[in-house]
């Protein structure tokens, strides 16, 4: 694999073109009879996890990757980190093809999976870090400096010698971050780094990621279901649906949509019996519970629709606001045809 040579290419650290991946999974039909049949004959489904995905990420950039569960985000991250091989397409990261799994490539990347602990459960964090120092062949002085920097920034000095399993979820995630960044990777994949954390811990992790991006300028890909993560960390966003990227552009561009729509939240006296009126307008309501309904409508017709719904529905309370980012992404995922 050749190294990247042009001036523009030097800035682009991750370049992905037409990446596709399918999985063959067997159908598991319910019941004992079907289980017995399955012993001799199986039906398979081809699931297209990725379909011609293309994008690039530059140095110092954090690309937000969002989409519903099963949209293909984790598959994409696994392919780019070299764990999985795609069926077709190409990816060039730091001049390497990830799935060739070259030693020098692995030394320059990092993958943090919020849902999977990477550290050794029964050991204190410092023991884990020493092992990682050996695995990544980090010189002692560099290891000490980096560890000190990361520990100070994340405020976990006192927790270094406590067993990982005895740490709180937030502290554990901070240790996972240190473990991921100890070898100062040029490419960082963050797969839901704030999942399950309380608001304070989420904020601390976000502030740290921003600080790390400023000081080290790695190319980062962040997947998250928390819109706060995306809004505060990413300037660019790729929205995935059923293995395809259906939006790849700036967050501001997406927020233009936000200004063009309004969010109506109705508190009802009793559950709704029908939503024909909205269906006739092609609008899909979102039920937060039986008595709370959210409707995203075009800004210019918001008052008319609200007025009509007040007449039809048993409304107790109504609030109107600019559409939030999550709803905009949701509507892009629902409406836009790739």
């Amino acid at each position: 694999m050749t190294t990247v040579t042009s001036k523009r290419s030097n800035r682009v650290m991750i370049r992905v073109k037409d990446l596709s991946k399918t999985f063959k999974v067997h159908k598991k039909l319910p019941g004992l009879k079907n289980s017995l049949i399955g012993l001799f004959k199986r039906e398979y489904i081809i699931k297209e996890a990725l379909q011609k995905v293309s994008f690039h990420v530059e140095a110092g950039e954090i690309l937000g990757l969002v989409g519903a569960n099963g949209a293909g985000k984790t598959t994409l991250v696994k392919i780019l980190s070299g764990i999985m091989e795609p069926d077709s397409g190409s990816a060039e990261i730091l001049g390497y093809t990830p799935w060739q799994r070259k030693h020098n490539y692995k030394k320059q990347i990092s993958l943090l999976m919020g849902q999977k602990a990477q550290l050794w459960w029964d050991l204190p964090a410092e023991d884990c870090f020493v092992l990682l120092k050996e695995i990544y062949e980090i010189p002692l002085s560099r290891y000490n400096n980096t560890l000190q920097y990361l520990v100070e920034k994340l405020g976990v000095q006192k927790q270094l010698n406590i067993q990982i399993r005895r740490l709180s979820l937030g502290e554990r995630m901070k240790m996972e971050l240190i473990a991921s960044l100890l070898h100062e990777p040029k490419i960082v994949f963050l797969d839901e780094p704030t999942i399950g954390l309380d608001l304070t811990a989420q904020r601390a992790i976000r502030e740290f990621i921003l600080e790390y991006r400023r000081s080290h300028r790695p190319a980062m890909i962040l997947t998250s279901h928390y819109m706060e993560d995306i809004q505060q960390l990413c300037k660019r966003l790729a929205i995935m649906r059923e293995g395809q990227i259906i939006y790849n552009g700036s967050l501001e561009g997406l927020q233009e949509n936000r200004k063009q729509s309004k969010s109506l939240v109705f508190i009802l006296k009793e559950p709704l019996k029908e939503t024909k009126y909205l269906e006739s307008l092609g609008i899909q309501p979102t039920f937060e519970n039986l008595l709370k309904v959210k409707v995203i409508v075009p800004k210019e017709s918001a008052l008319d629709i609200a007025s009509d719904l007040l007449k039809i529905w048993p409304v107790m309370d109504l609030s109107m606001s600019d559409d939030d980012l999550g709803s905009v992404i949701e509507s892009v995922m629902r409406m836009k045809t790739p």
Binding site: K78, S81, G82, I83, R101, H103, N104, K106, K107, I109, S110, L111, M113, K116, Q118, W120, D122, L123, D127, C128, V130, L131, E134, I135, Y136, E137, Q163
Partner: protein, 185 residues
């Protein structure tokens, strides 16, 4: 290759991180192994009122029946390396990301188990010398100890290779438990 010894050391530290479990396991397995062979063969020798059975004296018989299970454990480990489980639950991803040999890492992990079993065996030997008889009749020297350890290491390598070969089937078939059960046969 320094990472290899660190993985080995980490695995040993994991084993000794729970004191009660470590001591119970260490003493319990040695004592139970020892007590079973001692009382079983003591009753057989006394019932038959003989000094030897097929050329084995009572101390030699105890020595053999005490030694064999530990050698088996030291060479076979727990019967699997955990690779198939990691393939199944996705834990293997972590190892694949590291710039080291995945099989090398797994081997270092399994070698830690061998160290633990050898330690248990040495403790058992001490009990044997204190309560049953000396080791003089077995003509144990530096050379035989070296060969003993070398053979255990090589046997561990062979059993590890067999185990990971079978466990790798988990890449195609999720569950390989029955294959692993068949391995000792």
């Amino acid at each position: 290759m320094r990472w290899f010894f660190h993985v080995l050391s980490i695995e040993l530290r994991k084993t000794i991180s729970y004191r009660l479990d470590f001591w119970l396991n260490l003493i319990g397995s040695v004592l139970s192994q020892f007590a079973v062979s001692y009382f079983l063969w003591k009753s057989i020798f006394e019932y038959n009122n003989v000094a030897e059975i097929r050329g084995y004296t009572f101390p030699a018989m105890i020595f053999y029946f005490f030694t064999a299970p530990f050698i088996e454990k030291a060479t076979l480990g727990d019967g699997e390396t955990g690779l198939s489980r990691e393939i199944y639950d996705g834990g293997l991803s972590k190892l694949l990301l590291y710039p080291i040999s995945t099989f090398g890492y797994k081997f270092a992990q399994s070698l830690a188990g061998t160290f633990i079993y050898i330690t248990q065996y040495l403790l058992g030997l001490l009990i044997y010398v204190l309560f049953i008889g000396s080791l003089e009749s077995f003509s144990i020297g530096a050379q035989s100890i070296f060969l003993f350890l070398l053979l255990i290491l090589l046997a561990r390598v062979i059993s590890f290779l067999l185990q990971v070969t079978l466990e790798s089937v988990a890449f195609w078939a999720d569950n390989v438990w029955s294959l692993m059960v068949m391995l000792p046969f």
